[in-house]
């Protein structure tokens, strides 16, 4: 069974039909990339996977999204637990204006972990997993806003890892970063694949080829093509995919 399956899903923002009949299987321990031009619906689908779209007024969803076979839009599905299991990293690094330690500990504390030694362990482990422990281990009390953008984004990844999620959603996590930080995040994503299922929206097609196992190409609210990344980029089945990846539009 796949980790997440999206079935006949439609999404509306008021009258605007933003996603049209989406069907997709996202497998465990794989990196799935969403590509496509701006406004094609890739971020919208990503945000539906942990119900962040609930925060948008006038957003309506039909069809099913299943996590381990359970409908996450069912009325008895605990939305806070869903977001614990399906974590998210945003486009712009958004650390809380508090210390690095408190940033990482925020999630575990939210879910009821109070013991100092336990929190210490989680903080260290999360920072190590996000490949930033060595850079900040002596500055855990430092305000997270006083470190570089690339480091902030890894802090945000560590913060998402700290609640021990199963799936990690990444919404263009490197678009605000310099090339060196981008390379670090990409390496990290590759490492994280062992333990997590990762879904990543990217504007950058090279990034999709570098890191992802599967790629979905979106256009005006539809998934035009979805398959193995090497197939999508070498032998695209749809003309529109070919035009997009060869840079004829988008």
């Amino acid at each position: 069974m796949s980790k997440i399956s999206v079935k006949n899903m439609d999404l509306y923002y008021g009258d605007f039909h933003a996603l049209k009949n989406i069907n997709m299987e996202i497998e465990s321990n794989e990196i799935t990339a969403f590509i496509g031009p701006s406004g094609c619906g890739k971020s919208t689908l990503l945000k539906s996977l942990n119900r962040m779209n609930d925060l948008v007024e006038g957003c309506k969803i039909t069809g099913d999204i299943l996590l381990d076979g359970k409908d996450i839009y069912a009325s008895n599905f605990d939305i806070n637990l869903l977001r614990k299991r399906v974590g998210m990293v945003f486009q712009k690094p958004n650390p809380f204006p508090m210390s690095i330690y408190d940033n990482i500990a925020y999630g575990p504390r939210t879910h009821g972990i109070k013991s100092k030694s336990k929190l210490d362990d989680i903080v260290e482990k999360s920072l190590r997993n996000a490949a930033i422990w060595n850079e900040v281990k002596n500055d855990l009390k430092k305000n997270a806003l006083r470190i570089s953008g690339g480091q902030q984004q890894r802090i945000c990844i560590a913060r998402a890892l700290a609640v021990d999620p199963e799936v990690l959603l990444m919404d263009e996590p490197t678009s605000a970063l310099d090339p060196i930080s981008t390379a670090k995040i990409e390496d990290l994503v590759h490492e994280l694949k062992k333990d997590y299922t990762i879904v990543m929206v990217t504007h950058n097609m090279q990034q999709a080829t570098r890191v992802s196992d599967k790629t979905a190409f979106f256009l005006t609210g539809e998934v035009v093509e979805f398959g193995k990344t090497e197939d999508i980029f070498s032998v695209p089945k749809d003309k529109r995919t070919e035009y997009y990846i060869t840079g004829r539009f988008g």
Binding site: L81, M98, A160
Partner: protein
């Protein structure tokens, strides 16, 4: 052209500072020589025109007003920004009402307070009538500044918190509130300033009694009111200036205390 603007900017700044310093200097110059020990006697008499009872009343009124208006105002601000749906009719009405109320002259509040609290509810001229009137008066100020402060908090922080599985309450209290705190506090400081400087609204609600109020239903006068009355009577203009000095010192103390508290709060997290 740029030269003209540069001079205009400099002259404006100079004028502003100059006038402010002149006012403060003038009050100090006129007031300090008349700060005699008898001004601080426990009891007011027509001889000593003691300002001590008025000082206590001022502090009482400010404290009680904040006690009532701050929680109501801050929570209303939270409701408007964090809970109410956008485009909600009720929210629009509350917003228009607060904006209108923050613009009307304080004597209107005084009139309302007198007709409603003093006469209708039978509170007489009293601490409680004054406090309630002052609370209503500063409520729009606190609501507006809370709203502004909350709206200036980046939505990405709320998203980050929700994204970690935190609920609304935790997000608001742990993430949004600390960031918005300085803005909310500056609204509270402005509210303090308004109460301390208020005369018209309090004259008809708190009354003008010269003693320290001995209960919620007892009348009193604030320093600003005391000053006004002394100077209109024309007999004690010098003491009125001395009262002005004390008023300046109290405002200065309250402001530094609030700044200190907000800094402490910021450091604490």
């Amino acid at each position: 052209m740029s030269k003209v603007i540069r001079y205009a900017v400099k002259i404006s700044a100079f004028l502003t500072f100059g006038i402010l310093f002149f006012i403060i200097g003038y009050i100090l110059f006129r007031g300090i020589p008349h700060l005699t020990p008898s001004l601080f006697s426990l009891k007011y008499t027509t001889e000593n025109v003691s300002l001590f009872p008025a000082m206590i009343t001022t502090i009482l009124i400010v404290a009680l007003t904040l006690l009532i208006a701050t929680p109501i105002g801050v929570f209303t601000g939270f409701y408007l920004v964090e809970y109410a749906k956008k485009g909600n009719k009720l929210v629009e009405i509350v917003r228009i009402a607060t904006e209108t109320l923050s613009g009307i002259p304080s004597i209107v509040y005084g009139l309302f307070g007198m007709l409603f609290f003093v006469i209708r509810l039978g509170f007489q001229y009293s601490l409680i009538a004054g406090t309630l009137t002052a609370s209503i008066m500063v409520l729009p100020l606190i609501i507006r500044s809370t709203e502004e402060a909350l709206m200036s908090v980046d939505d990405s922080l709320r998203e980050a918190s929700f994204g970690l599985g935190a609920g609304k309450l935790r997000t608001i209290f742990r993430v949004v509130l600390p960031v918005a705190m300085p803005g909310i506090l500056s609204g509270v400081i402005l509210a303090i300033g308004r109460v301390v400087g208020e005369t018209a609204a309090l004259m008809y609600t708190l009354g003008t009694a010269t003693k320290i109020p001995n209960g919620f239903f007892s009348s009193g006068r604030t320093l600003a009111l005391h000053m006004y009355l002394l100077s209109t009577e024309g007999m004690h203009v010098n003491e009125s200036y001395a009262t002005g000095v004390i008023l300046l010192i109290i405002v200065l103390m309250i402001n530094s205390l609030s700044t200190y508290l907000s800094n402490r709060l910021m450091k604490g997290r």
